[in-house]
Symmetry: C2
Subunit: 205 residues, 2 copies
DNA sequence: CGCGATTCTGAGAGTTACTGTCATTTCAGT
DNA sequence: ACTGAAATGACAGTAACTCTCAGAATCGCG
């Protein structure tokens, strides 16, 4: 008697193969992050990580294209776009984005505060990671600008729109940086609001 | 009869050793950039560059700590600070920075337009270079913020000041990017003014 | 000019992140 | 159980660096 698809989706859901893959992936990532904390990022070799996770170096690279990717699996950026498209059309871009950021950051912190703080610290401390992170953020910025262009019916390359996106991301990065530097003790949402208000006021100095 | 220090400072100024070093450095850099243009950045190995410049790979690394540095020797960023400190104290930071950027970009373009365009294109096209460039720009941003803090008598870590610096740099990067994408045909100063005005107006959308 | 001290250079060996190939093992569906 | 597909590990190779060391070029001084 074979199990029905329904039962299986409840009990195991994924085949043994898939479960093993997920487990291996998590194992590699956890050992990597642990070793980075213990010995530093550069001082930790892929070989060590592979050994700790009990896989061969070849397998490591099948799961993570680069050593950096063990830190930089960024699940949040795609969510921003989704949330942005979900915002009511009558809101101005500024308001919509403020909502989106508030929502996501709220959830994010509630779920993972300490892990986010640790990872952010690592990313800010290691040049290679910082660089990759910025690259990723830039892509998100571009996609936000595209989404806004669509929303406003402006051309995709619109200069003001791009400047807006860049300035917004800059404020967000400043906020995150300030928060991390202060050990995660500030109220990051208040800080962000402050930054956005300041930006909307034309950055008076 | 020995030459006086004065004469030497006009005629050779530097010893043979120093002159050779400068020559070697320039040679390596020129061959590197040429090869990058011809075959692409990643496809060009340090060994090839060294061979073209008629030095050993060891020597290459004595002159440039990394392959990236052959492209990224950035002589402009330090000038910004100097120019900023030279601005009259009664100008607002915004005005002062606008002046500084206008001055420097004007000079820069007058001297080297095509080379700047080529190098910028390369830097924007190659991820590794983009990343390093951003890192460098960030450092400049930090120093600008420090200089402004001093100028205004605010604490160095002032959040608004940092947000200002970040937004300003973001607008500048957007400007440069738009200019390069359009083949350097726009009036970059007009574009920059537009961006700065837009920022000062609070990025209305 | 000559000579010792300093600096520059090239050769070579080693490390590490990554890529590609291929045989072996492990799982999935029948 | 059996077969095709996917995952794995061993291995070889590349390229960017790093370190060391011996020899050559340059400099400063008498």
């Amino acid at each position: 008697m074979s199990t029905s698809p329904l039962e299986r989706s409840l009990e195991q859901r994924l085949g043994l193969r898939e479960r093993k893959k997920l487990k291996t992936r998590r194992s590699i990532q956890e050992h990597a992050l642990r070793l980075f904390q213990e010995q530093g990022y550069e001082a930790t070799t892929v070989e060590q990580i592979a050994e700790a996770a009990e896989v061969s170096p070849s397998t490591f690279f099948r799961y993570f294209p680069t050593k950096e990717d063990t830190v930089l699996t960024d699940e949040y950026d795609p969510l921003i776009l989704e949330a942005l498209r979900g915002q009511p059309a009558e809101l101005s871009p500024t308001e919509a984005l403020r909502n989106v950021l508030r929502e996501l950051i709220g959830e994010m912190l509630a779920a993972d505060r300490q892990r986010i703080l640790d990872r952010s610290r690592l990313m800010l401390a290691v040049p290679a990671l910082r660089a990759r992170q910025w690259e990723q953020t830039r892509e998100t910025q571009d996609r936000i600008v595209e989404a806004l262009a669509e929303r406003l019916g402006r051309p995709a390359g619109d200069f003001e729109l791009r400047a807006f996106g860049a300035a917004l991301i800059a404020v967000w990065e400043t906020t995150l940086l300030a928060w991390v530097e202060n050990g995660g003790e500030d109220d990051i949402l208040a800080l962000l609001d402050h930054g956005l208000d300041y930006l909307a006021a034309g950055c008076p100095l």
